[in-house]
Symmetry: C2
Subunit: 458 residues, 2 copies
């Protein structure tokens, strides 16, 4: 076993104790809210059959799948003619049957189809697990990262969309992140493309509209023309591109434009129902905004589209999702409509770090450290130590009878609040000396009073 | 996208809500105890460089690593001469740079070496993550499974071993599993092999001794002879093989046999110190047993060896570990001694299921379901629903206004305790009807009293 300088694959990360405690704070908060709303946890394997994954994320997505080499003599089992220059893609399929999951949505669809007879529909599930993508690593983009997905499948009701709005609101309220929730509806976008006679330019249109705040209306119109949108269609788009005001005011404009489009009006009705719940029940701290330029995952969603941005932070969306009418159809189970959102734990972490939103109490786990002067003194301390733990406090005994300075250094660097010191004198008097590492103050207390003393002074 | 009958790779598992809640109960308990003892969480990536993993688990282990195919045109980058029949192993190294982690110990060693300048030693860490092994799947053996590891590195003190005994005791006490903790010491085994002049037959000797309860002393002696242990050595082993009684009585026998072996006597002293802590502090509910036949991971451990068995259940060990004097040496960092144990979540799950040890309260997450009669009634219910959630209860509104029977069926199958029903009459009287799904009893209550009513009657 030669010694080697250790490192990890690019685009992956180790998480040390400080990061872990913060990440767990985010995951625990999200999990607690999901559960409060009646969603149930599932987990799926890291490896899925490639037949499950391939063709679900487009050609680009297929290339980003991490494939797992078949075990054993994979060459003997493959047709040797596949190992030719320029033939890597075909060869990979001959020597790999499994891949790492790319997201949590396709495994969820697979799960629903596989266990359809055991599941109670509507099925409300959440799933918090890592996913892997062979993307080029860059700032904020990793090859392994966690997704936190919450979906309900088997119900068309817009109350599900409303529930997701409540969940988004509560998660970010608890994390103290100021957010704007942007809402759109795929049917409205389809309606617009329909009424201006440019159904095949849906993406070009939304990309151009998305830039209005940055480049202004004239530049948007130029871009639309460059992308091949007919002049007449550009003119028809004007009231939509330049619309402003409240959500209700925007809906009035849209309704007028879309009055001849059945699908467009269905989208408007859906959005109105959702805004109706939001207004009549009230209580949201997140601002909810109708944003026509929101078009994420356009080929995928069929109804509501959600996206959450943090206010005052330069970062992409920290949560997003929508409704998909035929998710499980790719695995042969038709007519199950679902709606869900995914929280991006890594970006949420970055926002909270930047805005200093992590509670200070997360910093230290151990509250009390017993200094170690040797075997006899250690044994004297052990019962008091166990009592603290039994009372629910994290506590430890320094394992070696190292120099006092070294032990207190460790105590300081670990941010441990109290050091307990017991030498000859304390043992004879059945006492313990407790040093507050923050104030530097030291007190002598009776052995049996330690737990109470710590509970009072922490 | 052709439809396909979905399945998962053999040896992997999906976990549905019921299993997840139980698994999380185990993980949360273990995590809580680890943290109470001052251990800190870390996580490492699922993928490690193959250079980190290869050669660390023996030749057999290398074969069980899941390797990840390099992205892009892996064939172009490899020497084409490697793609020959019977050459799969060499070829795999030419086209794979990464593998899935096989355990948590090697990634931990890599972590310690990589971040040695940032870590406070002694470093007390825990890690709960899945590992992957291309083993032949069989009952109770999976290709993806979780390990829960707790280790301290950078301290030689036997107080660390004692702390692990306390942790083992507390975890299984909380899970209500009756266990026996078996203890041994590698130095004692080395000492025995030394004094009988058979240092190279260490494994043969422990394997044979292990069978004494099943086959009796004569059969053990025959087996020792068959394995090539000299007659004189077999005679010298007799007092050890046939020793019985308490731990203290066994130690007296061993001490006599090992008096001429320096390493053997060091092992005895270590075990005596550990038993000393256990006895002088007391309070353990787990039975601790000195077991000379315990030899797990023999080539790996250098001091204490731990193994935990569940009493009254036919299953292998549910926890095990030991001390390793030079773990980080494989990555070039010398003289860091560590000791740790790993809890086997899957076997613990099986034991708890078999002995019905999971708390009943785990069964259901959602406590209250509101029946849905349509949009107007739903809106009436939403505020009461949000109040329940704000009070910390899991509650949901059935999203569709389906037939009452269908909704109550869902409520029953999900084990939801209360159904809240609000139609025309209830709305007009500002009331809610609450049906206890367990007793079948139904009560009319004032709208504002719901939270209090549920809290009192659950």
């Amino acid at each position: 076993m030669a010694s080697s300088k250790p490192s990890i694959p690019k685009g992956t990360r180790d998480f040390g104790p400080e990061q872990m405690v913060r990440r767990n704070f985010i995951f625990d908060t999200i999990r607690e809210v999901f559960s409060r709303y009646g969603y149930q946890p599932i987990e799926t394997p890291a490896m899925e059959n490639l037949s499950t994954l391939l063709g679900k994320y487009g050609e680009e997505g297929d290339k980003l799948l991490f494939k797992i080499l078949n075990s054993g003599d994979f060459i003997d089992k493959a047709d040797s003619s596949v190992f030719k220059l320029g033939n890597s893609n075909a060869a990979s399929l001959a020597i790999c049957e499994k891949g790492l999951r790319y997201d949590l949505t396709v495994p969820f669809a697979r799960f629903v189809v596989q266990y359809q007879n055991d599941i109670q529909f509507p099925f409300k599930r959440y799933q918090i697990q890592p996913v892997w993508r062979a993307d080029r690593p860059q700032k904020g983009r990793y090859r392994e990262f966690y997704q936190c997905d919450v979906d309900v499948i088997g119900s068309n009701s817009l109350l599900n969309e409303y529930e997701l709005v409540l969940i988004i609101n509560e998660v970010f309220e608890r994390l103290k992140i100021h957010t704007v929730l942007k809402l759109n509806n795929r049917k409205i976008l389809s309606g617009i493309a329909e009424v201006i006679g440019e159904s095949d330019k849906l993406i070009d249109i939304t990309v151009a509209i998305d830039k209005i705040d940055k480049i202004g209306i004239e530049a948007v119109n130029s871009e639309l023309r460059e992308r091949g949108v007919a002049e007449q269609a550009v003119q028809k788009l004007q009231p939509i591109i330049s619309m402003t005001g409240t959500n209700a005011e925007k809906l009035i404009v849209i309704k007028d434009v879309l009055k001849s489009s059945e699908i467009g009006m269905k989208g408007v009705a859906e959005l109105e129902e959702l805004f109706g719940y939001i207004e009549s029940v009230g209580g949201l701290s997140t601002k909810v905004e109708f944003d026509l330029s929101l078009a994420r995952g356009l080929n995928y969603y069929t109804g509501a589209i959600f996206e959450v941005k943090a206010v005052d932070v330069q970062i992409g969306s920290i949560c997003g999702g929508g409704r998909y009418d035929d998710l499980a159809g790719i695995f042969g189970l038709k007519n199950l409509s679902g709606v869900g959102v995914s929280f991006g734990a890594d970006r949420i972490y970055d926002v909270m770090l930047q805005q200093e939103l992590f509670p200070e109490s997360l910093a230290a786990s151990t509250k009390v450290m017993f200094v170690n002067f040797g075997e006899k003194e250690a044994v004297y301390c052990l019962k008091a130590l166990n009592r603290l733990r039994a009372a629910g406090m994290s506590a430890e005994l320094y394992p070696d009878s190292s120099k006092m300075k070294k032990q207190l250094d460790y105590c300081n660097k670990r941010n441990i609040h109290f050091a307990v010191i017991a030498g000859e004198n304390e043992i004879n008097a059945n006492q313990l000396a407790v040093k507050n590492m923050v104030t530097g103050q030291q007190e002598l207390i009776s052995y049996d009073n330690l737990t109470e003393f710590i509970q009072h002074n922490i």
